[in-house]
């Protein structure tokens, strides 16, 4: 098990490193740099050149990259060229917001999707059909569309704030009112993000339950007179979780992708918005920092889904060790 964890950790570090490096190199190779915006605004060429050399943008890519790598190894990710603040602080703050959004959305999607999946996969009659139609509809409402529609509804009715993370003045009100305020702002983006996800989970779980119910051990349990609901929710539920758990690793990727869209539409101050601004203004160190955070998020997601998979399916615990 220890060897497995070490391998897993090494892979995570590699993932973060590769993603961040790729982002840095790509942004450095892209035409233009942070000073390009000032071209044509009356700033003299000499000032621009001075700026570029002060920011270290005039050095060769390799030198710049190696230097960044050396500092990153000591967890110093440089200073944002755009904000003039350390990248680590900026990214940490925004990554936390994205993590909050993603975790809430994932929780909601799981809590909604799993039970519905079990129902759709095990029953007959109206219910499965309804659930299934609902899922097909929800699957066809990707986060871009759903968040725009939710924003429209919120703007029309005024039930919920349409964007941002808080509307209170900083420091105003007690912790309870700021928590309520945060929760109110969270509803819309989290719902938009969770909607297609819960449908995915429901579909997978429905299929898994239907398959599991055909296994001999289920038939045997039913034949022995174990109540059907007990068989369904205890005996069949756990092994059927495997397929959902197995895609959790992939879900984290699509969660990140989805949260980018949602963050832009609902102006949620998360990693996606930051990365987008950084990319546009060619803020290399910030891009690399955001990419590193994204990579870490993915690696963590992969690790968690592996652990969950091992918990759900005892057979995998042995194979994970054999694998290493």
């Amino acid at each position: 098990m220890a060897r497995y964890l070490v391998r897993r950790l090494a892979f995570s570090v590699l993932l973060v490193l590769v993603v961040a490096s790729a982002a840095l190199v790509l942004t450095r190779l892209a035409p233009g740099d942070i000073t390009s915006e000032q071209v044509g605004t009356g700033v003299s060429g000499r000032t621009l050149a001075a700026d570029r050399s002060r920011l270290g943008l005039d050095r060769p890519l390799v030198v710049q990259y190696v230097e960044w790598l050396g500092r990153a190894a000591r967890l110093d990710f440089g200073t944002s060229l755009m904000y003039g603040r350390p990248v680590a602080g900026l990214v940490a703050e925004r990554a936390l917001n994205t993590a909050l959004l993603a975790v809430v959305a994932l929780l909601v999607a799981t809590l909604v999707g799993l039970p519905l999946g079990v129902i759709a996969g095990s029953r007959r009659g109206m219910m499965p059909g309804l659930v299934r139609s609902g899922s097909v509809l929800a699957l066809s409402l990707p986060s871009l569309v759903s968040s725009l529609l939710f924003v429209f509804v919120a703007a029309r009715t005024g039930w919920l704030p349409t964007g941002g993370m808080t509307s209170l003045e900083p420091g105003a009100g007690g912790w309870l009112s700021s928590l309520v305020d945060l929760a109110r702002h969270l509803v819309l983006p989290a719902a938009a993000l969770a909607l297609p996800l819960s449908a995915t989970i429901e579909r997978l779980q429905a299929r898994a339950i239907a398959d599991t119910l055909r296994e001999p051990f289920v038939v045997a349990a039913l034949a022995r007179g174990v109540p059907a609901s007990r068989v369904l929710w205890r005996s069949a539920f756990k092994p059927a979780l495997r397929s959902v758990t197995a895609i959790y690793g992939l879900i984290f990727g699509s969660l990140l992708s989805g949260s980018f869209v949602v963050e832009i539409v609902t102006s949620w101050p998360g990693l996606g918005r930051l990365m987008f601004d950084a990319l546009r203004s060619r803020d290399l160190y910030l891009v690399a920092g955001c990419a590193a955070a994204g990579g870490a998020f993915l690696a963590l997601g992969g690790l968690l889904s592996d652990i969950a998979l091992a918990l759900v399916d005892p057979r995998l615990r042995g194979s994970a060790e054999a694998d290493s």
Binding site: V19, L26, T27, A30, P31, G32, A120, S122, R123, R124, G125, M126, P128, V136, L137, L139, S140, L141, P142, L144, V145, L148, L149, V151, F152, A155, R156, T162, G163, R207, A210, L213, R214, V218, V219, L222, A228, S229, V231, G249, L250, G253, S254, L255, L256, S257, G258, F260, V261, I264, V265, G272, M275, F276, L279, R280, A291, G294, L298, G302
Partner: protein, 329 residues
């Protein structure tokens, strides 16, 4: 339901093909007096409550600052069929331009933009789908046919790409290119980038199919008759993956439509005068506009309709249910 899905898809394809017959307005044409003008719906019952041939009420700008519009119920204008180069329209000179889905923030015809926008949105997604299928088939075919180290390496690579959040990769690749480009360049670039991100699942499936087919008797027989590796791959092994490729195409297409919409929405896709569903949504992007002029969200509904249609077409067959547990349904 499958059939309904097909009908929608074919309908959308027809609309994209015959866009010019559906509206006399070009997607870039601005009407000064129609900024955020409301849709001019087709009526069949007039203000007296009696039926008549389809007509619209002309819309008049009442207050330019408040963007208030008024329907002129006293002077209904009958629609004219098959004239002026379009299937249905309003006779010229009567009641001004007919904007069936209203006007956008620049006074352009939302309907015309929607109809012409389907060309860019669907076109780029189609090209990207074909590209992703091509790359995936090449990689998967090579991996499945070669086996060994090549197979390992290619599959590791596809696993890696698969884990990455696709939208960020598309975004980063697009943002690292010149931000302002001409429309054809944007088309090629966006399609290429999406293909580059979309291939891994295709490759994995094709590899599995090719690797399995390779061991079958007919493949072994062809080999022993002296058929070359690549010829065997192209003539006999890859055709076995046809059904899989069709399914994958159906799964990729909605994703790509959405990716284009997202890119254009954030301003990295088709630039503004071009009409694509994404660039239309970008224009609708500010919240005040959404609340006051909900018809600018129509492209979102179009995306929803296409994605739903694809989902209906590829929906898996009914799940079978175990008798013992069906009682409480």
């Amino acid at each position: 339901m499958r059939r309904a899905g097909w009908i929608v898809l074919v309908g959308v394809a027809l609309v994209a093909m015959f866009a010019a017959w559906l509206t006399p307005h070009s997607p870039g044409e601005r009407f000064e007096d129609r900024i955020y003008a409301p849709p001019m719906l087709v009526h069949v019952i007039d203000s007296n409550g009696s039926w008549r041939t389809p007509f619209v009420y002309p819309v008049r700008l009442v207050d330019r600052l408040e963007r208030r519009y008024e329907e002129d119920c006293a002077h209904p204008v009958e629609l004219r069929w098959f004239s002026g180069g379009v299937i249905v329209g309003v006779p010229p000179g009567e009641g001004g331009p007919w904007l069936p889905l209203g006007g956008d923030g620049s006074g352009r015809d939302v309907f015309a933009r929607l109809v012409f926008g389907s060309r860019l949105s669907l076109g780029v997604a189609l090209v990207a789908t074909l590209g992703a299928l091509l790359i995936g088939t090449l990689v998967g075919g090579a991996a499945g046919a070669a086996g060994g180290l090549v197979d390992d390496g290619l599959m590791r690579l596809s696993d890696f790409v698969l884990v990455l959040p696709a939208m960020y990769v598309v975004l980063a690749l697009r943002a690292s290119m010149p931000l302002v480009l001409a429309t054809p360049a944007v088309f090629a670039l966006v399609a290429g980038i999406m293909a580059l991100v979309g291939w891994p699942l295709v490759a994995r499936g094709v590899r599995a199919i090719v690797a399995a087919e390779r061991e079958r008797d007919y493949a072994q027989a062809a080999r022993s008759l002296g058929m070359g590796r690549s010829r065997l791959l192209v003539r006999h092994l890859l055709p076995a993956a046809r059904g899989y490729l069709a399914t994958q195409a159906a799964l990729l297409l909605p994703g790509f439509i959405l990716a284009e919409a997202t890119l254009s929405y954030v301003g990295l896709g088709f630039p503004d005068p071009d009409a694509s569903w994404g660039s239309m949504l970008q224009e609708a992007g500010n919240i005040a506009a959404i609340a006051d002029a909900p018809w600018t969200l129509v492209p979102a509904l179009a995306i929803f309709a296409v994605v739903l249609a694809v989902n209906l077409v590829v929906e898996a067959p009914e799940f079978t249910v175990l008798p013992g547990l069906g009682r409480r349904g």
